[in-house]
Amino acid sequence: MSKTIEDPKKAVRDEDYEIILSCRRGDDEAFGVLVERHQKKMFNIALRMTGDYDEACEIVQEAFLAAYRAIRKFRGEAKFSTWLYGILVNVSKTRMKQTARHRQKTVSMDDPADGPGEGLAGPEASALETLEKQEIQAKVQHCINTLDEEHREALVLRDIQGFSYNEIAGILSVPEGTIKSRLFRAREAMKNCLKKQLGEL
C-alpha cells in the first residue's frame, strides 16, 4: 500500500497548476478535473481518519467545496495536493469533533458487519477468506479509531497513504520531527491494540 509519491506528484503539480488557473477564471469544469484527480485519495484519507464510509463522503464533499471557495487564496507555494489534503484533514477534524458522540457509536468496527462497503475483497476470494480479511481489516480500522487524533493523522498519512515526511509536514503544518515521534507512538499503540484485538500477531 505504501507508495513513494514524490516523483509522480511533481508531474501532477504542473498539471494541477494549469487547471487551477482555469478554475480561477471561473471554469467549473476545470474544477471537476481536480475532483476527479484527487477524490480517491481524499476519500481514503477521510475513510481511515473517521472509519465511517458516509462520513468520509461528507468530508470529501465539504473539503472540495472549501477548496473551491478558497482556490484564489492558493498561492502555489506548496503542491496543490498538499494544500488540498490539508483542507481535508482540517475538515475531518472539525467534523469529528462535531460528531464525536455519533462517531463513538458508528465506529464499533470490531463488528465485522460494519465495514462492508470498503471493497475489501475481490469476487475470486473464498467466502471464508473474505470474511477473515474483512474481520482483520475492521479490527485494524478499529485500532486506528482508538488512536489520538494527532497519532491517527500521522499513521494514516504515512503508513496508509505513503506520503513523505516532508509532505506530511506540509499537510499538517507541523515539523517533521514532531510527525516522526507521533508516528512512532502511533505504531506502538497500533501494535498493542492489534495484539489485544487479534490475540496473536
Binding site: K40, F43, V60, F64, G119, Q137, K180, F184, E188, L201
Partner: protein, 342 residues
C-alpha cells in the same frame, strides 16, 4: 539499556532514523533479548496489517455531488451579486444617485455655456430696454427682460427737452397700453414683427439719439414710416397704441458687432483694447471685468470697424460672434469680449 528503553527505540530503529551507534545497540539487544525481539516482530506485523488495509473506491456519485455543490455555490455567489445591485432597497439609491449625477452634469453644462447664453440674452434685449422697462405693463414684464443698470438710468435722466417731450408722449401712450394690457402671446407676435423688420434693427437707442441728433433722425425716420404703416393697418386694433409705443421706443435697436478676443491675460489686454478703441475715435467706451472675462463696449463709426478689428488681431485671436449684415453708415455698437485663450 533495559528492555523498556529498547522497545521505545524500536519504531525509530525500524524507520532507520536512529543514529548509527544507537541503532547498533538496539540491534545487539534485540538479538540477545527474546521479549524485545517479539516486540519488534509484532511491530513489523502490525505495520504490515496497517499497510495492507485495502484502498476503498469512492462512490461513483461523489464527484457529481461535489460538482452539484460547486454549482450551487456559484449560483449563490451570483445571486448575492444580483441581490446587491437589483433589489429595491439598493435600486432606489442607485436611481437617486443617477438623478443627482444627471442634475450635476446639467448644471455643469449650463455653467460652461452660460457666457454665450448671457450674451445672447443681452445683445438683442438691450436696444429694446427703454421700451420694455418703462412702458410695458408689469404683467408683460414677466417675460425675462434685463433690468437696466443704474448707470443707464442716470444717463436717461440727462435727456434733452425735446426728448422729454417725446417721453411724455410715450408715457401717454403707455398709459393707454396699461389700460389695455397686451396678452403675452400678442406681445410676442408684436415683437417678432419688429424683429423681422430690417428697418427696425438699425434704429439707435434713445440716449444715442440725444447726442447724435442728425444720425438719430436719419435712423429713426424709417421707424416712423413703419409706424405710420402699422398704424394704418391696425387702426382700430387694441394693439395699436402699444405697438406705437414700442416703435417709438424702438430707437433702442441699434446695429451691433460682437467679437471674442482670446488673449493670454484678458485683464491686461483690456486696457490695450480700450486704447485701440479710443484711437479709432470710439465713444462711450465701457469696460467691465468679471469671472476672468472682460467686456468692452463702445460706439464707433462703421468705417472704423475694420481698422479696429485689424488692431485687435495683434492682441490675440479674434472671432466674430454676431454681425449685422450691411450696416448703415454712422455709429455702431461694438462689443468685445475678452477671454483667456484656450
Amino acid at each position: 539499556m533495559d528492555c523498556k528503553h529498547i522497545e521505545e527505540k524500536i519504531p525509530a530503529y525500524l524507520e532507520g532514523v536512529l543514529p548509527p551507534d544507537e541503532g547498533k545497540r538496539v540491534e545487539a539487544h534485540v538479538a540477545a533479548c527474546p521479549s524485545c525481539r517479539v516486540a519488534l516482530e509484532h511491530l513489523v506485523k502490525a505495520g504490515k496489517l496497517v499497510r495492507e488495509l485495502e484502498e476503498a473506491e469512492p462512490p461513483p456519485w461523489l464527484k457529481q455531488r461535489v460538482m452539484a455543490r460547486v454549482r450551487e455555490e456559484r449560483e449563490r455567489r451570483q445571486g448575492f451579486i444580483r441581490r446587491f445591485f437589483y433589489p429595491l432597497h439598493i435600486k432606489v439609491p442607485v436611481t437617486a444617485l443617477a438623478t443627482v449625477l444627471v442634475a450635476v452634469f446639467a448644471v455643469y453644462v449650463f455653467k460652461a455655456v452660460e457666457p454665450e447664453t448671457t450674451y445672447l440674452r443681452q445683445a438683442p434685449s438691450e436696444p429694446a430696454r427703454v421700451a420694455t422697462e418703462k412702458d410695458i405693463p408689469k404683467s408683460l414684464a414677466a417675460v425675462p427682460l434685463k433690468v437696466a443698470d443704474p448707470e443707464e438710468r442716470k444717463e436717461r435722466k440727462a435727456v434733452t427737452v425735446s426728448d422729454r417731450k417725446r417721453e411724455s408722449e410715450k408715457k401717454e401712450v403707455s398709459s393707454e397700453a396699461r389700460a389695455v394690457p397686451l396678452k403675452p402671446a400678442e406681445k410676442d407676435v408684436a415683437e417678432r414683427k419688429m424683429a423681422s423688420r430690417p428697418e427696425a434693427a438699425p434704429a439707435v437707442s434713445a440716449d444715442a439719439a440725444i447726442k447724435e441728433a442728425p444720425v438719430a433722425k436719419r435712423v429713426l425716420s424709417p421707424a416712423k414710416g413703419e409706424r405710420a404703416a402699422l398704424g394704418a393697418a391696425a387702426k382700430d386694433d387694441v394693439r395699436a397704441p402699444a405697438m406705437a409705443a414700442k416703435i417709438k421706443a424702438a430707437p433702442a435697436v441699434r446695429p451691433g458687432y460682437a467679437f471674442s478676443l482670446y488673449a493670454t491675460d484678458p485683464a491686461a489686454v483690456m486696457s490695450d483694447v480700450e486704447k485701440i478703441l479710443v484711437e479709432s475715435g470710439a465713444r462711450k467706451v465701457r469696460r467691465e471685468f468679471q469671472d476672468g472675462k472682460g467686456i468692452v463696449t463702445a460706439e464707433i463709426e462703421t468705417e472704423k470697424e475694420k481698422e479696429v478689428i485689424e488692431k485687435l488681431k495683434s492682441l490675440g485671436e479674434v472671432r466674430e460672434k454676431d454681425k449685422v449684415q450691411e450696416p448703415p453708415a454712422g455709429p455702431i455698437t461694438l462689443k468685445i469680449e475678452i477671454l483667456s485663450s484656450p
